[in-house]
Symmetry: C2
Subunit: 367 residues, 2 copies
């Protein structure tokens, strides 16, 4: 190791016997360099092992060659969400190919993210950002428009936006779940959703409502939870304590479904004998639960790829290529089954089914 200093474009220029500019032209495959000169330059660069410094590049092209992802969620909930890792992997696969880096920021939930974005812009760290976990009336698109920072909204389409939206439509997945339950004979299909103030919380609930309606079913109880296990358990408890508890519950994510399933089981209910349950996400554990969870699966990796592609297009002010995302698919497993037939036909204030079950349990324990 003779020289400690990093290789620069000047070293290449000198070695190839040309000027800095020529090297730059050759590297970026721009006209103005003879084919054989170009080849010679590239060969020399290769030989001495030079890669352009993205620092220097970033300064001269007035771009950061990086995009940002700001995640504002309590880390606990984040950890249980299979979405982000796959999504980020999808982003990466496109970004790295185009020489872009991904800047990640995980901020406290209550920070409302906007200071983070402002800083990213002020410091010129990123050329664009992905917006996730959108709220209804989210201030961020407006803020970013004001700051002039390109953005892509990740999630269900909103419609009237300044920024493009890239997202797998929730509706088909939820609809499929409801239809599946209807086909199994269920008619009291409750819903445990995320915060209605959040776009995907909202859209999934709408999908459930629409599907019920399409099946000609009357409205059923719906509880607004917050995607956490705790809230899923609480919501489930409330539903089971209703005078007329549901025979099936559609959850807006797997985590709440798992917590709900556990809670129901702890009360002696058999899944799916007494209660059918569906999740959303198809997390790794879903298939290995007892019973295996019927859930909705989306191709999150592809989703990430699409979002990244769109953001880069936006940054380069290229026209949008419309990428068709595969729709959400229902994965039927063992947590859904035929509606219980032994149900008493007239609704009462007590819950006979649970009573009965409790009795059976008691017998078992006494044995």
């Amino acid at each position: 190791m003779l020289s400690v200093t990093r290789l620069t474009i000047n070293d290449v220029a000198r070695a190839a016997g040309v000027s800095k500019g020529a090297v730059s032209f050759a590297l970026n495959s721009r006209p103005g360099v003879a084919p054989d000169t170009r080849e010679r330059i590239l060969k020399v660069a290769q030989e001495i092992g030079w890669t352009p410094s993205s620092r220097a590049r970033a300064l001269s092209v007035s771009r950061s060659l990086a995009v940002g992802l700001v995640i504002a969620r309590p880390p606990a909930t984040l950890g249980a969400d299979p979405f982000f890792p796959s999504f980020i992997a999808g982003l990466e696969s496109v970004l790295s190919e185009r020489g872009y880096a991904l800047l990640l920021q995980v901020v406290a939930d209550d920070d409302r993210e906007t200071p983070s974005y402002r800083r990213l812009v002020d410091e010129g760290r990123v050329d664009g950002v992905f917006l996730t976990d959108m709220f209804m009336d989210d201030p961020r698109p407006g803020l970013l428009a004001e700051l002039g920072l390109p953005a892509v909204i990740v999630g269900p389409a909103l419609g009237d936006d300044v920024w493009p939206t890239v997202g797998v439509d929730d509706a088909p997945g939820i609809s499929a779940a409801v239809e599946h339950l209807v086909a199994l004979g269920h008619s009291r299909i409750a819903y445990v959703g995320g915060p209605c103030g959040m776009v995907h919380g909202h859209s999934r609930q709408r999908a459930w409502l629409t599907a019920l309606d399409a099946a000609g079913l009357p409205s059923a109880p719906s509880i607004e939870a917050d995607f956490s296990a705790e809230s899923g358990a609480t919501a489930t408890r409330q539903l089971l304590e209703l005078a007329e508890p549901p025979t099936a519950i559609v959850y807006a994510n797997d985590l709440m479904a798992m917590a709900g399933m556990s809670l129901a089981q702890s009360r002696g209910l058999d899944i799916p004998g007494d209660l059918s349950i569906t999740g959303y996400d198809d997390s790794e554990i879903a298939a290995h639960l007892q019973p295996a969870l019927t859930t909705v699966c989306t191709d999150v990796l592809e989703w990430g790829r699409a979002a990244a592609t769109r953001l880069l297009e936006l940054i380069d002010t290229q026209p949008a290529t419309d990428i068709a995302l595969p729709t959400a698919k229902l994965v039927v497993r063992d947590s859904t089954g035929p509606v219980p037939t032994t149900r008493p036909p007239t609704p009462t204030t007590t819950t006979p089914r649970r009573r009965q079950r409790t009795t059976r349990l008691r017998q078992m324990e006494m044995k």
Copy 2:
């Protein structure tokens, strides 16, 4: 909005009636500027709303002001791991305070990461990296030493390394789990671990072995899995089919423990009546399982903070401040209980307990 161009240090200099250099000095609180001048400059900068461009700063200080985290795992496994989100949140809290950004890369598992690091270095994207999911004889520390890129190893201490290690020791947590089970009367405490080729897989298994030994127990079956739900289920099946199945299983993470618990339950075993189970991680869902999972909890956020602090020190060639990380703690819940007392004293080739249980189940179903 009169001018569309970004504010630069020149604008501040002009507005304050000083030179570029003076502004730079003032901003970085270096000597050579009179106190009142410094204040005036800062006030002007504040007023016109200028923040130094990190692009330009990065080029002139020959630093990227960013650090990298390369994650090489199949996204599916990643999504189920509560570690990274909290860890990243911890990193962020230190990095952002110091004006550093976090560059994230999620690469395919088989890419073995090294090309990613090489690229990060070649392009000058980062000033240092965190190494996670270390293998025994991992080539990365050596590679990075060669490339001259500072690194901090995240995980159990290895000892002979070029780079500092920041990690919560696994041993106390696993030991506590084993001791807890021993106290409950268990003597056949099996172990389902991660790949032994991985450092934390290895260290957790050693901890289990050591703890067994300390309790004066003979060696028990141990299965090398891969931290995935699938592998956890398979390992559990193998253990339960042993001539003399364990009465307790210690798992190296929650995901495998959950899958194992479900599998055991699907075979009619009662947890913890017939089999006690412990996990590792304390994921959000753990407390909401049926039964709630006894597991090991570590302060991952603090861990992230420590790792970031250490890496920045390394980059600035400052001496290491030794940060004491809180040790892993056992969280006792309901998946562990007294060893079954009804067990026949002589081992046979069949498994009477399960037989008995199956019978009970059958009775129930026939009813």
